[in-house]
């Protein structure tokens, strides 16, 4: 009896307290609205973002002899393979540019886009063990992927510049930079945004149904052949040109080659298309991702 009365008293006093105090720091609800993106929270976790970047970067090549040298071996080998296969054997056009520079510039760009895309696309599935135990804004993970790959891309870009210098100074090839090279930072942002946006959409879709994940691996490969990595847009027959131009990476790659090497089908219209595509995809990606992150643990 006594116990009951004290419990009742407690209940009553808690009711009274509740009336006084209605300011909660947080309310956990069943679903987040489509547009509730908590940017302040993401900012508060910026240290985690940088630590993830560091972790990705440091851990990848630990216990390997060559370590970061692998960053350069990958594009180098791909460039040689393409030079021999498409340049020498198939004798495809490179707009008169040195084969190595032509392929390497395409490969370096494409690799960054591809890394951003594929490595963010499995965010939920491959991090399920961490996500299942602790909360932090999930978007930190794909962001860290984009940033750590940016460092790798930066190194590969410097590597590409060394080749450029060699061909410009020693080989005397007909290459020169145009003022459009100033667009370079913008192009990087476009690639990162596209990769991130697409990756987030795919990762959200794959939490429940894995089908997209299987599609992705060869899909990205196919997408590369549908972009001007191994051929210039100028060499395309009119009837196929629009398929290739529909690829939002086309504008980015052509603009990059035009700025760095001096030749290419650069048109601002292509870039505007890529930009609009990036904005839409990134926006969609954030929305879907933000909505899925809340309950994905139940289905992953």
């Amino acid at each position: 009896m006594n116990m009951n009365t004290t419990q009742k008293l407690e209940e009553l006093s808690s009711l009274a307290l509740e009336k006084e105090k209605e300011e909660w720091t947080e309310v956990i609800k069943p679903k987040v609205g489509w547009f509730e993106l908590n940017l302040i929270e993401i900012w508060n976790y910026r240290d985690l973002l940088m630590l993830f970047v560091r972790r990705d970067f440091v851990s990848i090549y630990k216990q390997s002899i060559l370590g970061p040298v692998w960053f350069f071996i990958q594009p180098l080998l791909a460039t040689f393979a393409f030079t021999i296969l498409f340049g020498r054997i198939a004798e495809m056009s490179t707009d008169g540019l040195p084969l190595i520079l032509f392929y390497m510039s395409g490969i370096t760009l494409w690799n960054y886009f591809q890394d951003c895309f594929t490595k963010t696309s499995n965010t939920f599935t491959s991090n399920a063990s961490i996500f299942g135990k602790v909360y932090f804004p999930r978007v930190i993970v794909p962001l860290s992927v984009v940033i750590s790959n940016l460092i790798k891309f930066g190194l590969q870009f410097i590597f590409l510049l060394l080749f450029w210098l060699y061909f410009f100074k020693i080989d005397g090839a007909q290459i020169f930079m145009r003022k459009e090279i100033l667009l370079f930072p913008f192009l990087v942002v476009l690639m990162a945004g596209m990769g991130l946006g697409l990756g987030m959409i795919i990762s959200s879709l794959t939490t429940k149904y894995r089908d997209f994940q299987y599609m992705l691996t060869f899909g990205v490969q196919l997408l590369m052949y549908g972009s001007p990595v191994i051929y210039p847009v100028s060499s395309l027959p009119e009837e196929y040109k629009y398929f290739i131009l529909a690829n939002p990476m086309t504008g980015v790659i052509e603009a990059f080659r035009y700025g760095l090497l001096g030749t290419g089908s650069y048109e601002s219209g292509y870039l505007i298309y890529s930009f609009v595509f990036t904005v839409v995809v990134l926006f969609l990606g954030l929305l879907v991702f933000n909505r899925v992150q809340k309950n994905f643990m139940d289905t992953v």
């Binding site: 720091t25 069943p30 985690l48 440091v58 309950n295 994905f296 139940d298």
Partner: protein
């Protein structure tokens, strides 16, 4: 009276059982179709109480159903319940790992959760690097970690290995380092799930002490799930008992623990008098066996280290029998016979003069390890067998109490039948 820092309102969580596949796609489409027409989700109406052992036709189950409770500042709430009662699901909702299906949880202050020790530890990184990474995952900023770095290292006791990748650590060192980071979080509300069950006794004691400090000295709120009743009892101020996804009881920790132990009594035991297969003259027979502990009366569940009383009720058909020698043996779940005791060994014999004879036998400081036990009984009268039922006449459960008075779980294994405690010098 202190403020409410956590308020759970009508929270439910529904899970879908079985595989995700074409059936779940169909359900998703049906759900979407209802939503388009502005109707309620049809699957929220179905689903049943989460009873693990019962097979059901529904693919949906309520892991939590209509929970309502408050937690006040500075409280240490021990959450108990059987496997599948919804404890971990509740903690997952509170730590935002997954969202509730319906209802709201209102929080005032920063929550940090420790559902697992060492979440996000990267095997290739060194101990030092992992302190920062793990701290950041748990919600600390780099600056906070730097300020507490020395304390963390000191608490972990693995200073020597800080520049070694954690994959080279022993599992004990790993846990120490991970808990050290978590223990130095500075949240207003700390959520801890069964993580103290790992690590050696010294470390467990340290960890429990740290959790007590967190609540007592800095007035933080702790929510704590454990199957170790000893440590729950030590740390908690209040208890929350869960059953089938609902709240069975909430209140003072001692009351809740008692309620839990009573509700544990679910083993269906045939009354001894109803056993058919038995031998002997049947002049005196076992009628019923009940158990009690000094602390809480009749119960089938006993803490290790408690005193247990066996209450035998014998039926006397021949009142002339003299020199009744009653005996019993206790068997564990593996079928090992752990002990045999006849009253005659201790020079005690009973005479029958009424229709029912009540005999009590108290076993002091129970040192069987946790598990379920069965009792087989036999009666001799005047040196001849009077009754020997061939089935068990009673069953009881033993769960870990504070056997060592330290909160330690001891060596946990079903195959260790007895607990001993020494006097160390």
């Amino acid at each position: 009276m202190s403020d409410i820092v956590l308020k759970v309102e009508n929270v439910s969580k529904q899970y879908r059982l079985g595989y995700v596949g074409t059936q779940s796609l169909k359900d998703d489409l049906i759900r979407r179709w209802h939503k388009i027409r502005g109707l309620d989700d049809p699957f929220l109406k179905i689903g049943e109480k989460n009873e693990r052992t019962k097979k059901s036709n529904s693919d949906y189950v309520w892991a939590l159903r209509d929970l309502n409770f408050d937690v006040r500042e500075g409280e240490v709430l021990g959450i108990i319940g059987k496997n599948g009662a919804g404890k971990s699901t509740l903690l997952k909702l509170l730590s935002k790992v997954t969202g509730p299906t319906t209802g709201k949880i209102k929080v005032s202050g920063r929550i940090a959760s420790l559902l697992e020790v060492g979440t996000g530890f990267h095997p290739e990184l060194t101990g030092k690097e992992n302190i920062f990474l793990n701290g950041a995952i748990l919600g600390m900023t780099k600056k906070e970690i730097k300020n507490k770095y020395d304390e963390i290292v000191d608490f972990s006791g693995v200073e020597r290995y800080l520049d070694t990748p954690v994959k080279r650590y022993s599992s004990g060192m790993y846990v120490r380092l991970a808990f050290a980071v978590a223990a130095h979080l500075d949240p207003e509300i700390l959520i801890v799930d069964e993580v103290l069950a790992v690590g050696d006794a010294e470390f467990q004691k340290k960890a429990i002490g740290k959790m007590q400090d967190i609540s007592k000295e800095s007035g933080r709120t702790v929510l704590f799930v454990s199957h170790n009743m000893g440590s729950i009892k030590n740390i908690s101020t209040r208890g929350l008992l869960m059953k089938h996804g609902g709240i069975e009881m909430m209140g003072n920790i001692d009351d809740v623990l008692d309620c839990y132990l009573k509700s544990e009594e679910n083993v269906e035991q045939k009354k001894a008098g109803n056993i058919v297969d038995r031998s002997g003259s049947q002049s005196v027979t076992f009628n019923e066996l009940t158990f009690e502990t000094g602390r809480k009366g009749v119960a089938d569940t006993i803490f290790t280290g408690d005193d247990m009383i066996l209450n035998f009720k014998l039926k006397v058909t021949d009142k002339s029998v003299k020199k009744i020698n009653i005996g019993f043996s206790i068997h564990n779940a593996w079928g090992d016979r752990l002990c045999v005791l006849y009253s005659g060994y201790q020079g005690v014999f009973y005479d029958a003069n009424e229709e029912y004879l009540h005999i009590k036998c108290q076993l002091n400081h129970l040192d069987f390890s946790p598990g379920s036990y069965t009792v087989i009984g036999r009666i001799e009268a005047n040196g001849l067998e009077a009754d020997w039922p061939k089935e068990s006449i009673g069953t009881f459960n033993v769960i870990m109490g504070d056997f060592y008075n330290t909160g330690s779980l001891g060596f946990v294994s079903e195959r260790v039948p007895v607990l001993v405690k020494g006097e160390w010098a």
